[in-house]
């Protein structure tokens, strides 16, 4: 089968593209840089282009049956902020319109659990409303893109949405993969800063589950529906304990929210002086201090989605990173 994928160089998109190619599919990857090494595979064909360039989308989509649209501007802050809307909203509209023209049979849009805001006392499900206002451009642009997907689905496109939670696991070094960076710091005995709220719960999904979840959603998903692709809900203190089962963590420094916010503020000031992009901003950091628990029962029962236990996933991740360190000391 011919399958088009965007975001194929990303943390989720790259292993997904390779997995689809290994299964014998012809994968058409729309990439901005066609010299990219991570997509070297006899079954992967690279199409140079951009989701903001409709003609390049049409060229890559030609002859395809299925589309995985993962490309996204996945940051919490950028200046100018238009890039969120150009990439996540206009880009998704271009993809959907092309899918209608090319009579694509199934379309998956990769959103995020960020669209839900934060949870209160129980894990959130797909139909839950967003609990907070729109405090950042990423969440807003992803919600706008979801609305578009649902609109196109109501007009007959077999389009579905998947919402991965906080994804962890072996993968490329990207902004969407802060876990690897944190674990590398632990393995190198460098200090790590953790949110100073040990009892706050979040949902962590293992990278392999999320990749398989995309493929399962493509196979079993219903049009216009969204599916949370998550994992276990655990607190920061549980998280730290599970990491400590595998490696010794000597320098974990819990930082309270006001201090984090202050650092975010300083980084913003520095941006205006030096144009160095902040790692986080005061409004973006708040989300790590709120519960974000999710329930994946819909994906489990309707898609046959499976969750890797967090303890096992974390063991594999640390093992992988250790091997990588010995290979390239």
């Amino acid at each position: 089968m011919k399958i088009m994928i965007t975001g194929a160089t990303g943390y989720i998109g790259n292993p997904l593209a390779i997995k689809l190619a290994n299964a014998g599919n012809q994968v058409h990857a729309l990439v901005r840089n066609d010299q990219v090494k991570s997509l070297h595979h006899p079954n992967v064909k690279l199409f140079k282009g951009d989701i903001n360039d409709p003609s390049s989308i049409l060229a890559a989509m030609d002859g395809c049956d299925e589309v995985y649209h993962l490309a996204s501007f996945a940051r919490l802050w950028a200046k100018p902020k238009d890039i969120f809307y150009k990439t996540n909203v206009d880009g998704t509209r271009n993809m959907l319109e092309a899918a209608v023209m090319k009579k694509i049979s199934r379309f998956i849009y990769t959103s995020s659990t960020a669209v839900f805001g934060h949870s209160i006392h129980t894990p959130m499900i797909e139909t839950d409303p967003r609990t907070i206002g729109f405090d950042n451009d990423y969440d807003l642009s992803k919600c706008m893109a979801e609305k578009l997907v649902i609109e196109f689905a109501s007009r007959g496109l077999h389009a579905m949405i998947v919402n991965p939670s906080r994804v962890y696991g072996p993968g490329n070094d990207s902004y969407s993969n802060p876990f690897d960076r944190m674990l590398k710091a632990v393995l190198n005995d460098r200090p790590v800063f953790t949110p100073g709220c040990p009892d706050v719960f979040a949902n962590y999904s293992y990278i392999d589950d999320v990749i398989e979840g995309h493929i399962l959603a493509m196979k079993n998903g219903k049009p216009g529906e969204r599916y949370i692709l998550g994992g276990e809900n655990i607190s920061y203190s549980q998280l730290l304990n599970i990491i400590k089962e595998n490696v010794s963590v000597s320098n974990a420094i819990p930082v309270p929210l006001p201090v984090m916010k202050f650092f975010g503020f300083i980084q913003l000031l520095f941006f205006y002086l030096t144009k160095k992009q902040p790692a986080f901003t005061p409004s973006a950091i708040t989300r790590y201090f709120r519960n974000t628990e999710f329930n994946c029962n819909k994906a489990i029962s309707e898609l046959n989605y499976r969750i890797t236990p967090f303890r096992k996933g974390m063991y594999q991740t640390i093992h992988h990173l250790k091997n990588q360190m010995y290979a390239n000391p």
């Binding site: 409709p54 902020k81 609990t131 206002g133 706008m144 609305k147």
Partner: protein, 279 residues
């Protein structure tokens, strides 16, 4: 029988500020009667609140621009023996548009909901509130009603009605065990179109924009304390003070400058820049 516990009725509860008020009241263990237009959002919100809090949530799908629906709402609440002791008139239609571009059918509906439904629902529920007192009425006005604002002519007018109505009614009901409050919020990042519009506003307006959940928590606290006029946000209160101090000609200049930057709620982007694929 539900007569033992009392309920807070919120109109326009399914999205935006109404949703934030509903979640805030649930946080404070207040049982809820949620009223909103027919649609799945109201059911989803109610099920979310029931799963997260130990409160009763009863929903009514009503279009309050129809007078009949307001009467039906009261009937059905009486029939079910629901004791309402707090009424929050939140349902309203906002817009940002020059008057000459506003179709009469739109502003008729806006006036019908923001003015008529507020007055009618209040009038119908006063006997209930007196019976279940001590009671509160919270009317949702707007900071707009204090300023001269192009593109907000009718909206600001309806909110000025809400403001005057609330303050005067407060005097009439103060010895009857019903406390009337009015909240005049500034900009909030509530739903998608409003949040997009807020991001296109000028720097000062953007600074004053608040998150609906923060406003809701402040407002419910002040309402329960029986405050007459509730202005959420330090910057918004500062604007009001400035308005009293500045001479007229400076104010009109400032407002004119800021309003030209305010764009109308988003239109689908392909209307603005037709996509080459749209053909």
């Amino acid at each position: 029988m539900r007569t033992l516990s009392s309920f807070t009725l919120i109109t326009g509860a399914s999205d935006g500020f109404g949703k934030a008020l509903a979640i805030e009241c649930a946080r404070r263990n207040m049982n809820l009667v949620l009223v909103a237009l027919p649609g799945p959002e109201l059911f989803h919100l109610a099920s979310f609140i029931r799963r997260n809090f130990f409160v009763d949530v009863i929903i009514f799908e009503k279009d309050l621009t129809q007078d009949l629906s307001c009467y039906q709402l009261l009937d059905e609440i009486r029939e079910k023996n629901i004791a309402v002791n707090i009424l929050i008139n939140n349902a309203g239609i906002g817009n940002t548009e020059f008057f000459i571009h506003t179709p009469p059918a739109f502003f008729k509906k806006q006036i019908q909901l923001n003015v008529m439904a507020t007055a009618l629902v209040t009038s119908l529920f006063i006997p209930e509130l007196k019976k279940n007192g001590p009671a509160h009425i919270l009317n949702v006005g707007s900071l707009c009603s204090f300023f001269d604002l192009p593109k907000k002519q009718i909206y600001g007018g309806t909110k000025s009605f809400v403001y005057f109505f609330s303050r005067s009614l407060r005097l009439e009901l103060q010895d009857e065990g019903v406390t009337v409050s009015v909240v005049c919020p500034g900009g909030m990042n509530t739903n998608i179109p409003i949040s997009v519009m807020n991001r296109n506003a000028n720097y000062i307006s953007r600074l004053s924009v608040m998150m609906p959940e923060d406003v809701a928590s402040y407002v419910i606290e002040k309402m329960l304390a029986g405050k007459k006029l509730i202005i959420p946000g330090r910057l918004n209160r500062f604007f009001l003070l400035l308005d009293k101090l500045l001479p007229e000609f400076i104010k009109s200049r400032l407002i004119k400058k800021s309003m030209t930057k305010l764009k109308a709620p988003i239109k689908p982007i392909n209307e603005q820049n037709p996509s080459p694929l749209a053909a």
